[in-house]
Amino acid sequence: MVSTQQFCTFFLDGHIFGTPVPKVQEVIQHQEMTRVPLAPEVVSGLINLRGQIVSAIDLRRRLGLPDRAPDKLPMNVVVRTNDGAVSLLVDEIGDVIEVEEETLEKPPETLQGFAREVVRGVYKLSGKLLLALDIDRVVDLSDLNKAGNNREF
């Protein structure tokens, strides 16, 4: 018996990332955001999600990837966390795919830095790799506050 799990996938700087479908509340188009001065640089701003105020975290910055081109508008992947909804900004949204648990491997040793901490593992798909994100770690910015490496605007 092969146990499978559904993953919602999205693209960041050419990589495929994914998170289990139940974690994802919804995917929405780019929204106008309100900038939050003094906030950690990974927080792009606040969006109004049907009356709920949701922080938007730029996943590229969060994972230490280069910023996307200014003319490319990101998509919002709104995820459920213990602290309510949080929006993750991604380049593009992918398909919902089914993965087999057997194909999961530990993140490769070459994966460095913070990305290593939030990538739970890698699923080997045909011809590509899916990096599974630990969403709760991604949205917990306490490591940033501790390190004090907020970018000075």
Binding site: V36, P37, V43, S55, D83
Partner: protein, 772 residues
């Protein structure tokens, strides 16, 4: 847990809270049959319920309490302090058992044997001589049970107990209704029986359901939804203003009215009378007064004053603290009061009332009052305030020092006759919900603590401003006034000393915080830009400190719905939340207190209590990076001098005519003192006369320096700037009164040895205490 047990817990807790109050009330009015009856019924209900639910230990305890109460009610005992204490202990024990039922489903392992024994002992105390004993024989159950006709009739004195007892016996034989039997025997009037029947029906819960229990989470959810509706309404109104469609406009007007009304009504559902918090106080005061050996009466006015439940929660602890303080430290012991010619019983009054959209709560005691002199001493000892400053403080200002952190420490509780512990916590908690605290006191007459708090926190009026292209909301509670300066005028109004901009507002110096700079919305040069053609200053208040927030534009006031920020933004102290504007976009709500701390308007304990004028200069103290705030002045011969800002008490301007002479020493009258004046130019240049500064220039710039309550004024030609510089002293200067030279703002500047200069001119300055 079974629903039935849950209901039992909720109901019993409410009953116990009421018991606390009623027992304390009974103590002051021991003959009240109504009170006794009510207390007896409550205990009886608990006993009955737990018997039914199988909590044997609890039942046993309740039974012991009930026995004691029944003897009281029958007049076989009169209420004494011991009995009240015993009964209150029973209430506590029952409460403890209820907690254990909630946690484990069991009524605990403690059987309270000692307490039960004590209750039994109290119950068997010798009967009160000469007290009439009502007829026994009527079952206690019946007396307690006001749900039965016999009980009601008995309560009203419309039937004699012995008649009722006989009727009950007959009822058991013949299964007739008690009313019929009583009427048949002529023991009661038919109309009384009918009235009693109606009373019972009205008491019957099924007969008229007027309230239902609703979960708090549901109410919160409702409130959120109404918040959404209010926002949607705002959007709709904005839209309808831009169309000409009359029908649509009419509909949105109606929508507007309905939404407003709905908002008010839903707010009401969350309102609770403040009495819910106060109810615990009679017991607290009684126990505490007994402990301290004091006699205290607690009066309460305005228990019905309603507040949002979140606010009720938030003020519970501060209020308890204030009440305990008043009992512990405020009201004197009976003998002391007697000697002072006061009534031995102290009175503690709690008052609550609405005023101007806010709720005022006053806690007044008629105790000894605060001792201003001792507060002054203590504050100076603790370095909270300079001696000189303390001298000229009004009593009212002095009293409010008790709210400072650091004023209260454990040992002080015994030292100071005033209030001690944790008043700063009280203040912080009240301010957290947008309230204010103030204390007034008259020696020998008593003390009043006044708290002002907003009605609700969910929807608040706010001022909308823009800065650096972003919109922000400033809660109206922290708002004092708005100042707008037109072109040209702004250059005059804002005194631009680099690093510490100030504005003269009606003669007072108001520290300014540039919002765009504080939030790093624009380049560091923004301060010059912001000064541009016009400036808008929002004068706000945080922690008693006024300061001006310079913004680009002031737009409007609006009712906003406060929404919390996510955990990701918890570390940013500049915002207290966010809201959604009429156009659907998010705007941040500024946390004025946080901003003030960021802008270092309130940085340390010192500047928090320094008077408003000096706060302007205190804005930029040493910033921890080895930098030092320096006041750069010019005096004679184009020479620049630097004075550590920490040594500067104030900057003043005097007319030359204010100079008088004491002997050969130039002096001026300053805050009720004679302040010596030193012409810095004379000192550093060594020359005796520098004519041009004395008469020709009619205004004198004076830097006031203070040491242990004595002040001296240093006359300078011009105040150049305030700078944050790393001080690297080079080449010890041969000149008098100069410690050395340094390069400040790319110019060579001498660092003044202020204490040295002062002592050179006035030997023995601040050592002898002449002319205090």
């Amino acid at each position: 847990m079974d629903d039935i047990v849950k209901d039992f817990l909720i109901e019993s807790r409410e009953n116990l809270d009421r018991l606390d109050q009623e027992l304390v009330k009974l103590e002051s009015d021991p003959s009240s049959k109504d009170l006794l009856g009510s207390i007896f019924r409550t205990i009886h209900t608990i006993k009955g319920s737990c018997g039914f639910l199988g909590f044997a230990r609890l039942e046993k305890l309740a039974h012991a309490g009930e026995n004691l109460l029944s003897r009281l009610r029958d007049g076989k005992l009169t209420l004494s302090k011991e009995i009240t204490t015993g009964l209150l202990a029973t209430v506590d024990a029952v409460r403890q058992m209820l907690n254990s039922i909630q946690e484990s489903g069991q009524d605990g392992t403690e059987d309270h044997a000692a307490l039960i024994e004590q209750l039994a002992a109290l119950a068997t105390a010798p009967p009160v001589p000469g007290h009439s004993v009502p007829a026994s024989g009527v079952s206690e159950e019946l007396l307690a049970d006001s749900g039965k006709i016999g009980g009601v009739l008995l309560e009203r004195g419309q039937v004699r107990p012995e008649d009722l007892a006989r009727a009950l016996e007959q009822q058991e034989l013949g299964r007739k209704r008690i009313g019929e039997i009583l009427v048949a025997h002529g023991a009661a009037q038919p109309e009384d029986v009918l009235a009693a029947q109606q009373t019972i029906e009205s008491r019957n819960p099924e007969a008229a359901i007027e309230t239902i229990r609703v979960g708090v989470t549901l109410l919160d959810r409702l409130m959120n939804l109404v918040g959404e509706l209010v926002l949607a309404r705002n959007q709709l109104l904005q839209f309808s203003n831009s169309t000409q469609d009359a029908a649509f406009q009419a509909v949105s007007q109606r929508m507007n009215l309905i939404a407003t009304e709905l908002q008010e009504e839903v707010m009401k559902t969350r309102m609770q009378p403040i009495g819910n918090v106060w109810n615990k106080f009679p017991r607290t005061v009684r126990d505490l007064a007994l402990n301290c050996g004091k006699q205290i009466r607690l009066d309460m006015e305005g228990q019905d004053t309603e507040l949002d439940r979140t606010i009720i929660e938030a003020i519970k602890d501060p209020l308890t603290h204030l009440v305990r303080n008043a009992v512990d430290h405020g009201i004197e012991a009976a003998e002391v009061r007697k000697q002072a010619g006061k009534n031995e019983t102290g009175i503690l009054t709690l008052r609550a009332f609405h005023e101007g959209g806010q709720v005022n709560i006053e806690i007044t005691d008629d105790g000894a009052g605060l001792n201003g002199q001792r507060i002054r001493q203590k504050a100076i000892e603790r370095g909270l305030v300079s001696a000189q400053h303390a001298e000229r403080m009004s009593d009212h200002d002095l009293f409010n020092l008790i709210f400072l952190p650091g004023f209260s420490t454990a040992e002080q509780v015994t030292n100071v006759s005033g209030r001690g512990v944790g008043m700063d916590v009280v203040k912080t908690n009240v301010e957290k919900i947008g309230g204010t605290v103030d204390v007034q006191s008259t020696a020998g007459k008593g003390t009043t603590v006044k708290i002002k708090i907003p009605l609700t926190l969910a929807i608040i009026p706010a001022l909308m401003v823009t800065s650096g292209g972003e919109r922000f909301a400033i809660p109206q509670v922290s708002l004092l006034e708005l100042v707008r300066m037109e072109t040209g005028e702004s250059g005059k109004g804002i005194e631009m000393v680099h690093g510490a901009p100030v504005y003269r507002l009606r003669g007072r110096l108001l520290p300014l915080v540039y919002l765009n700079r504080e939030l790093r919305l624009s380049d560091a040069a923004g301060i010059q830009k912001a000064q541009g053609p016009a400036a808008n200053i929002v004068v706000v208040q945080a922690d008693g400190q006024e300061f001006g927030l310079v913004v680009d534009e002031i737009t409007d006031t609006e009712e906003i719905v406060v929404k919390p920020l996510g955990k990701q933004l918890k570390g940013v102290t500049a915002y207290s939340g966010a809201t959604i504007m009429g156009d659907g976009r998010v705007a941040l709500i500024l946390d004025i207190l946080g901003l003030a701390q960021r802008g270092q308007v309130i940085c340390s304990r010192d500047s928090a209590l320094s008077d408003k004028e000096t706060a302007a200069t205190a804005t930029r103290q040493e910033s921890g990076t080895g930098q030092q705030a320096l006041l750069v002045v010019q005096c004679g011969d184009q020479s620049r001098m630097a004075i550590p800002l920490s040594l500067v008490a104030r900057l003043e301007e005097f007319p030359a005519s204010a100079i008088e002479f004491a002997g050969t020493q130039e002096v001026t009258q300053y805050r009720g003192q004679i302040m010596p004046l030193i012409r810095l130019a004379q000192i550093v240049s060594g020359k005796k006369e520098i004519a041009e500064t004395s008469v020709a220039d009619s205004r004198l710039q004076v830097v006031v320096y203070s040491e242990t309550g004595r002040s001296v004024g240093l006359i300078v030609d011009r105040i150049v700037d305030i700078v944050d510089e790393k001080l690297v002293l080079q080449t010890p200067s041969p000149r008098r009164g100069v410690l050395g030279s340094s390069v400040i703002q790319k110019r060579v500047t001498d660092l003044l040895d202020v204490p040295g200069v002062v002592r050179e001119v006035i030997p023995g300055f601040a050592e002898s205490k002449f002319s205090a």
